[in-house]
Symmetry: D4
Subunit: 185 residues, 8 copies
């Protein structure tokens, strides 16, 4: 498997088992039965199941978690060196649920934070784990600098938290991680 | 004074005294001295004064007020009929300091809320006081529906709070007013 | 209640009972208890409930319903006079799940269809019921011409179907209604 | 039939016969057979027919017609009072095939011309015939001022020519008409 | 001549003589000779003439005039009641040569000023003379509120000055007029 | 021939014979006769020919093929590991005929899929064949990651199918290939 | 002089003599007299001179040259292998005076052609001379692939011609060069 | 510390002391007390302090400094070799306070100048000090070519001046530096 073509890798979403992958790469040999089996192993069917009749459901963030996120962002940014940062929280659909821009945050921080949130929720990993990824870098809207963390539900990314503005991306990511912990309380 | 040409009117910013206005409308007669006098009456010079040397200052929102705003938005929206709304807080510079989108808020709520915040901070009045204003309606980016309230500092608008998504704009504006009260605590 | 300020009216989402509205309009008298009661009467709490712990859920469209929608759009457009139309299906989050542009559809049809879908899912009604609404017309992204229908789940709009391109908007809306019926099969 | 809902009317594309229209407005009674019959009467099937196998075809403009269009635009604009205009020619797909901006044409002329071309090809009529149409005015991208003319092939609009910049829209439309005549040579 | 179709009228550019206009409106009768005659009367040929060989020329603003414009904008805004305004100067080509945003100018002032400058240079008149013009209002990018004045060279608009932000558009236009006078020194 | 300057190479469109290319590179020696000969060898004249009178034609997709494409996209995405992907089908003109976003597809999938479709139809090759192409990478709107396949008619690209969202681009491209096969039935 | 910082180099505009450059790099030593001298040597003062009073002038393209450009584009594209290209001609101000899109030109050709024209007029050189320039590549809106040529007036770029769509950029540039020659007739 | 992750480095804002940084990089050990101490050492609390009650303040540019900036830009550009440049001055909030485009400046100069101003105010350093920074290059809106300088107030960037258009970025930066000096008079 060449590096260039691989966006997130087998481990990205924790859902494509090695066997499945081979199947996908060799379409002529891929039967529905095998794919179904892989699906079950990955535990996806449960998440997306449509119960009997009616419409399927997706997991989203509660309003209360947004209150906790704002509170923690302000505290964590102060605690970690009085950082002037912006935070964006984006759901899997691409909807932005929360933006907080602290005082004196630079003009670039909104766009940075949004792109880190976007990248984290799109690929299901912290952006610090993607900084060497030349493939993702080509995809419009992404930013592969540290500062983005995904919010996972049963291993699937339902939202991303992006923080931008600290002089080192690792500070941004530490703040994003603090916020994620606060949201789960 | 014809209605069409008046954007906000004499009362908008509480700063153009009747005498000043005549001066402005009759440029040939307007001397610097008169203008200065009007300025002093309006109390503007103090806000914008540059003390001796150095750069002038503008008032902005504190980070803590954003925490309180998020908290109150969630509470007020629930209390006032479980409204699915989005709130945007914009400073006079046009910078967005806070966006909170509650669960199930419609796709139009971000843009509505942003425009109400923009209109309130641009013209220094609640948008409910501007709904009949055909002049403002022509200016790009405005929305003259209830739901926007300005945050004033010594009578001058330093920020606007916009809320959109409730079935009646007056509910949006009641929520925005709740948030403003909470920010000032 | 003045017409101008009312976006969708009491009937829009079927959720703000008369009593609730008075509460909302008179914030000083609105207690949480009353609001909660109104909420229960409107049946909203059930939809948005977070079961025990974890994240809340939103209803979305299944993939199979998109297959049925494409199939019916093509058939219905042909059956109703060989209309050259575009259809857009948008979820409540604003995500576009499906776009189908039939042959020779005009250049304006994508934007028309998108805005009708947006308006229908935002306000929970067919756009034909909103054509006289001057308030909604002011909100960016809307289009109050016939051709948009909402997909409701327990009375709440989870998606909108917009069709544009027929010489009469009522034909557009008839096609959108056909598609909605087919998706529910 | 209410005026508001009618975008272009029965006459717009010359394709929906009165009988067809009633059918469309009464979906329950519309059978495929009737629709097919109407289609044949309108002569549409021929245009869109897929010969045997393979893909269907659409009519577009030849390159030579663009040369003639540029030449005539420059001449006609000069002849009709040395007008400073911009011309845009857009095909039914929305593709812009030609833009010519004469010397000293104002900054608004490109957008005006583009929208007139768009409106003419979308609705199959000169824009001078649509100036009173409040429905079309609501559709994004349109401009219902004189200056746009469609290029028809067997009654169906395959392109639009838009001209903007003359002090009276009727001059713009006279130039557009000159260009259309030159293209057909 | 119906009002709706007339963008700027015979007087707009001071170039279409009554006789020319009739010619333009009756294309069949318009001969090149007549058009040329009208052109000469309007004095246009001189401006656009290409001397022998080489490229024609357009008039633009000098750099020094921009210095004077900035200086006067700041002084005039202060003198006329300490207005918080933004000024935009745009050339006929659409190029923005100068933007000055005074302290505390509202977020809407840039867009207002730009559109007034655009409208003034496009139609060759002060925007205060266009406030009742429903035709121009439909053209994208225009704003028919007072505050824009054209800079004319031999009667032809080579640039526009737009000012936005004062509580009354007439103050904006008085400032723009002051700036224009200063530029010509 | 340096690599950098070559967008697609001699083989891209299968139409520039070696002799033609030399001609093109040496304009002074290129006579119309030679060019015509090359054209005939490449078989292009037939496709673009204008029969006697009337307008030339371009090949586009039938509506039925879109129904089959939606159906196969949903099936193939499920079969190949329950991929959360978005598919875009774009014609040569740039018109988007179909967008299908499967459940839980990430926020980046629409843009990825659109760019792959765009790249495939622009250069007439699968995007997997272009991943090393630094020249194409510079052209705005392209994405040289696997997942895009062209639909060819007599060797000329009339549309592109782009798929994005699978953890490996080769899965995206396998799905796109499945869809293409289904459309041709 | 490091490569990275140099946008166009001493030779770009043919106007910064070696001596001037040293002056520029050593501001403390740069006196107006020296600069003026350099200016005269470069012959710039003449072009930008303001004759006595009134406004300065810039050179632009004549309308007739656009007619010749369209004609030659169509012919040259056919002659050089029946290329499906788009051509854009942009003046120094950034105004687009001409766009011609030949039949079957790909969706990327407009943007490519526009960027090549932009790059050629911005830096005063054929884009084929800039393909290795990493500095220019960073500037938004540029495209450093062959296909753009400047139109010079006394050594200064007054417009750029950009062509995109041929399989090799050198064919694009040969066509652009043909067009430039035709415009000068 | 890897190069890639570091946006501006310890020196960027002159505010994160070495001790603080270690703290930030090791969140588990970071206590509020230590952060507060670092904050005091960096002198930040003073700038952002909210005096008793009321809103905090940010430093912005005076109107008079804009007059001086325009004047110096025109003079410096002439003195340094008659450069055709554009200058943009942007405050920390992202607000553009001044744009001056000198005669014959190329079409790319506005965007270049804006991005240099943006980069300088975002990272608090001249852009010439950032030209090798691959991390900043990835952040949307930045341009790491010489020509941008920050305006600092007590070591914190309150605005950025960007200049673009000279053949060597160092000339651009020399002009920007001249302007900064003039503003401080």
């Amino acid at each position: 498997m060449s590096y260039r073509h691989l966006v997130g890798g087998v481990a990205v979403l924790g859902a494509v088992a090695a066997g499945t992958f081979a199947v996908a790469a060799l379409p002529a040999q891929a039967g529905p039965a095998q794919a179904d089996a892989a699906q079950v192993r990955a535990g996806r069917t449960v998440v997306g199941a449509v119960g009997g009749r009616g419409w399927p459901v997706d997991h989203v963030l509660s309003n209360r978690s947004l209150t906790r996120a704002t509170q923690e962002l302000v505290k964590s940014a102060k605690r970690r060196g009085d950082q002037r940062v912006t935070m964006v929280i984006m759901e899997r659909s691409g909807v932005i649920r929360l933006v907080v821009r602290t005082r004196k945050a630079g003009p670039q921080t909104y766009e940075s934070a949004k792109r880190k949130a976007y990248t984290a929720v799109a690929f299901g990993q912290p952006t610090s784990a993607l900084t060497g990824n030349e493939t993702i870098k080509q995809i419009p809207g992404t930013l592969v600098l540290p500062g983005g963390v995904p919010i996972l539900h049963k291993g699937f990314p339902i939202a991303g938290i992006g923080v931008g503005g600290a002089p080192d991306g690792r500070i941004d990511e530490a703040i994003a991680t603090d916020v994620r912990a606060a949201m789960a309380h």
